[in-house]
């Protein structure tokens, strides 16, 4: 989904099984590259190995970048930075937003009111605008980047978790657990969570795409991960001038992002459809 929007069109696409299989394979490939980046890349992440903007050769398969670093190595290391950071941020936003959302759903009352209004207020601003504001205030370091994006994303997770939790919280078995005198976290962990796992897992995939593209966009704007770390958004920015010489190199990182986003989206579609209709 588009980064700037933060919302996504409702989907209605059916995905054939073989497409879903390919997509899972693609995701596995990205995971493999992310984990084994140091072994796979021919050169170091920030190692200067040649002249700036050398064309592709047997030595540098994708040529070199604006500072003479190997593009392929940067692309592989970039997977680690871009995908890894996005995954960490998504997990963080699920821990914050998911916990608060389920708490609001089960507890209800004033806590729910306050949390919901805070989330509404934060969501009244477009995500990119809020992120730019907060990054100005806290600076563009790694810690503030992670915190700011996790915070923005947590508001969306909160909404979804609360809605899913509300459906479950009205069930008799939750009422029974309440009457048994179980505590809030025991109810959330043992009664609610197992029943909202499916929608939250699907949401995780979609939130990951959002965070991933969001970080890439901020890096492209020069406000995300800071150099010399290799990340895909920043690599496009650094080498963009090559486009004017009909070189495709700067577009590889962007293409890598697009492929992963499509793969995750289609997989989520498939999983959701399977969950809705197990026979298909």
């Amino acid at each position: 989904m588009s980064v700037v929007t933060g919302r996504r069109a409702r989907r209605s696409m059916s995905v054939p099984a073989w497409t879903a299989r390919i997509c899972v394979g693609v995701i596995a490939l990205y995971a493999f590259v992310t984990v084994f980046a140091p072994l796979l890349s021919p050169y170091g992440e920030t190692e200067i190995v040649g002249a700036p903007f050398e064309p592709a050769s047997s030595e540098f398969w994708m040529g070199t970048d604006n500072l003479g670093r190997d593009m392929l190595s940067r692309l592989i290391w970039g997977a680690r930075n871009t995908v890894g950071v996005a995954l960490a941020v998504t997990v963080l936003s699920f821990v914050i937003g998911g916990t608060l959302g389920l708490m609001a759903a089960v507890r209800g009352g004033l806590a729910d009111q306050v949390l919901s209004r805070v989330a509404d207020a934060l969501m009244a601003l477009p995500p990119l605008v809020l992120a730019l504001l907060l990054l100005t205030v806290f600076g563009t370091g790694f810690a503030s980047l992670v915190t700011v994006i996790a915070l923005i994303d947590a508001t969306r997770v909160f909404r979804v978790a609360r809605a899913a939790g509300l459906d479950v919280a009205s069930m008799d078995y939750v009422e029974a657990a309440r009457i048994r005198g179980e505590g809030l976290f025991s109810i959330i962990g043992r009664e609610v969570l197992p029943n909202v796992k499916a929608p939250l897992t699907a949401e995780f995939g979609l939130r990951f795409c959002f965070v991933f593209l969001f970080i890439a966009t901020l890096s492209f704007l020069g406000l995300g991960l800071q150099p010399p770390a290799a990340d895909w958004g920043g690599m496009v920015r650094d080498n963009a001038s090559l486009v004017l010489y009909a070189e495709l190199t700067p577009l590889y990182p962007a293409l890598a992002m697009a492929v992963l986003t499509v793969a995750v989206n289609l997989t989520v579609d498939h999983v959701l459809k399977r969950a809705a209709d197990p026979r298909s």
Partner: protein, 315 residues
């Protein structure tokens, strides 16, 4: 109904006040003192004191907020920290440029995506529907800057028919401006069309699956009459809603596209000011973007209310 719309407008105003508070409070959130942050460690105490006074940091927060808001309402956003010029002066011309680009993209994107969305909905699971679906998923998944650079590569570099940079000069004719900004506008169109098409399709599919449409089909009413006479009146509201929501996206999508094409708009200024931590400019940009976003969302809701009498009934 008037009361409902008034209530919705009141809510939007409340949201604007809340946002102005958030934007203002961002200065208060700064770790330590803003003056120290800007001037750095080596600043003399006199310089810090002078800047604090210049920013009005030595006054109470409530008074500063009221002063800032009343200034903003009159178009006075204070002075840029980076250049010392009035923020309104920096923003003025750029705001017009950004408005031009957004309007250009909207005028192309709205009819295009509504038509394509309608085609996809009317001929469900046909070849056209599949192509439209795949295209929209593609545009939604691609980063905005990717679309922009591919367009530059194809039209500016390979074909050489359009300029790659969207530089504007005051003496340009309107036609020339349209050509100059065609690539950024097309990028925005593609990005926003993906969403708009899908949402239009969903809204129409929802209406076409209602029992009264099936009834009309069973009565033997012709297809064109079903679409224009039975379905369209009910679809106007959802579609207007979709358009307003997507125009709100477009206003923000402009930020990335302006950076790609080095377009002299407010989005570029926004990003530059974040890098240099020029807070007054960032605050002004935030307020402007947020206001437009909220107003368009308000319009979306009002369109929904006007078109669907059921929503006007108190529950």
């Amino acid at each position: 109904m008037g009361a409902l719309i008034l209530r919705r407008i009141a809510l939007a105003l409340l949201a604007l006040v809340l946002i102005s508070l958030v934007v203002f409070a961002s200065v208060e959130l700064l770790p330590g003192d803003f003056a120290d942050v800007i001037l750095g460690q080596s600043a003399t105490p006199e310089a810090v004191a002078a800047l604090r006074q210049g920013l009005g940091l030595d006054e109470p927060a409530v008074g500063r907020y009221l002063g800032w808001v009343s200034g903003a309402l009159q178009g006075d956003f204070g002075q840029s920290l980076a250049s010392g010029r009035a923020v309104s002066e920096l923003i003025g011309g750029r705001l017009v440029n950004t408005g031009f680009l957004a309007a250009y993209a909207a005028i192309v994107a709205v009819p295009l995506s509504v038509t394509l969305g309608a085609v996809a909905a009317l001929y469900q699971s046909s070849f056209a529907d599949r192509v439209i679906n795949i295209l929209s998923l593609g545009f939604i998944s691609l980063p905005e800057f990717f679309v922009g650079y591919v367009l530059i590569l194809v039209f500016a570099v390979n074909l050489g028919v359009l300029p790659s940079l969207a530089l504007l000069t005051p003496e340009m004719s309107f036609g020339e401006m349209l050509v100059r900004t065609l690539l950024p506008a097309m990028t925005l169109v593609m990005v926003v069309t993906g969403h708009m098409m899908r949402m239009t399709r969903t809204a129409l599919v929802d209406i076409l699956s209602r029992p009264y449409i099936e009834m009309a089909e069973l009565k033997g009413v012709g297809r064109a009459r079903i679409v224009f006479w039975h379905a369209l009146p009910n679809a106007v509201g959802p579609i207007a809603n979709v358009i307003a929501i997507n125009l709100a996206y477009l206003v923000v999508g402009v930020v990335v596209v302006e950076v790609v094409f080095v377009y002299p708009g407010i989005g570029q200024l926004f990003v530059d000011s974040v890098s240099s931590r020029d807070l007054p400019v960032v605050q002004a940009c935030c307020l402007i973007f947020a206001s437009v976003y909220i107003i368009l969302n308000l319009l979306a809701d009002v369109a929904q209310l006007l078109s669907n009498p059921r929503l006007r009934q108190p529950k």
